[in-house]
Symmetry: C2
Subunit: 274 residues, 2 copies
Amino acid sequence: MSEGRDSCIWLNGALLPARLARIDPSDRGLALGDGLFETIRVAGGVPQQVRHHLARLRRGAEQLGIIPPFDDAEILAAFTQTLAANALNDAVLRLTLTRGVGPRGVAPPADARPTLLITAAAWVAPSHALSAIICQSTRRNEFSPLVAIKSLNYLDNIIARREALRRGAEDAILLNTQGHVAEATAANLFLLKNGKWLTPPVTDGALPGVFRARALAGNAACEARISPDDLRAAEGLCFGNALSVLCVSRLDGQEIQTDPAAITELRAILDAKD
Amino acid sequence: MSEGRDSCIWLNGALLPARLARIDPSDRGLALGDGLFETIRVAGGVPQQVRHHLARLRRGAEQLGIIPPFDDAEILAAFTQTLAANALNDAVLRLTLTRGVGPRGVAPPADARPTLLITAAAWVAPSHALSAIICQSTRRNEFSPLVAIKSLNYLDNIIARREALRRGAEDAILLNTQGHVAEATAANLFLLKNGKWLTPPVTDGALPGVFRARALAGNAACEARISPDDLRAAEGLCFGNALSVLCVSRLDGQEIQTDPAAITELRAILDAKD
């Protein structure tokens, strides 16, 4: 459990022991997945890339018509409070924004008061190589504006991850409805081809990840459509998000050996400070 | 608000005043939309079609690997308790099942204890005719197994409903990624063509609705692929779910006059008791 017995949660302006933090059962975040989140790496007590994370949260909120009830300065102060209360230095912050409590039904209430929730967990360094499969049980919907925002609707990714575990792998690659590569279940995908890192465009169903944007801006990767055949012929393969860059050493049972220098190049982007 | 100041909620075996019912902020239903729900009409104190609703919930739970923590008899008893505690006779019950509390991350924890939540609201008869649009901002993903289960991932439907409201209508029709008609934002769609009610197949992205199944079983409707052109040429158009059959009197601004006898035929299916 990320929230231990004595952990603290920041909920709508109050720092509370986790056991006292209460989400209303009528919160639309629970009832309909009506909300957004961000996952933020904290290194040496400093939340990384907060400007990018908060900008993406606000873009998503605008798209859904949710007005965040706190400004960026208040949220940054809440991050500091939450980390201090949990005595965490190397950590992961999760910021969740929902439309708030509402009556039954799909239509958003005009007077909803959004819920803003911040939790913190200790940072656990992941193993640096993993096995993956190409997901067969579901597809990423590149026709939905949801691909471009980090919403609470994660069931397709959960279904893909469960398929991976069932098939003896650790993660899954989602294709879009046209069969092009979109992303992994919790990270963007980076394919090494002719010595260059390629990553699928948002129009093919890739979440515009914060790490991905930095890799593109830093010319460490460029956007390109990727097919399952490209994956099978990969010189190298990585999954990257705001927390880590993981090397995929096995895809659908076939070994992939990625040039360590190329991985180091991607990791350097992740490790560069704000 | 569906839950008034004095309403009662049934949560994991306990009947509680709504203000005391607490969802853990780490519940995966909130964090990732990792769960399911059912909406059940209660007429004269009797929940309608519970066998069908509970069967669909269990099919979805099996698909997601969530084990409901109560059996059908216990859930039926909980319905009765919840209705009595809220002094409701004509009502809507909502049953929500989530995977329960879990640590950070997409992978479902092996030891999750699912959350089962029952809320009740008074029945408010809807107006019997509404205006609709064909949604342009998102599509239903017929490639996902989620189309066949009633999951908590409702954001595409919320986006479609918001588009409808923005364009001066009350509801929206979602197309699938290939451009075929799938459903409305909270109901199945029924199109009158050559005097017969047609409804899209699940393979085109229609949720297998409880009312829809009864209409098909009773030969009041049959499955057929429906195009936007079919909608524009409709002799009649209705949205139907477990709560109501609503006539669509205007689509993208164009008037539709549905034969009242045909609507009566569909409503008779809805009104037939268990």
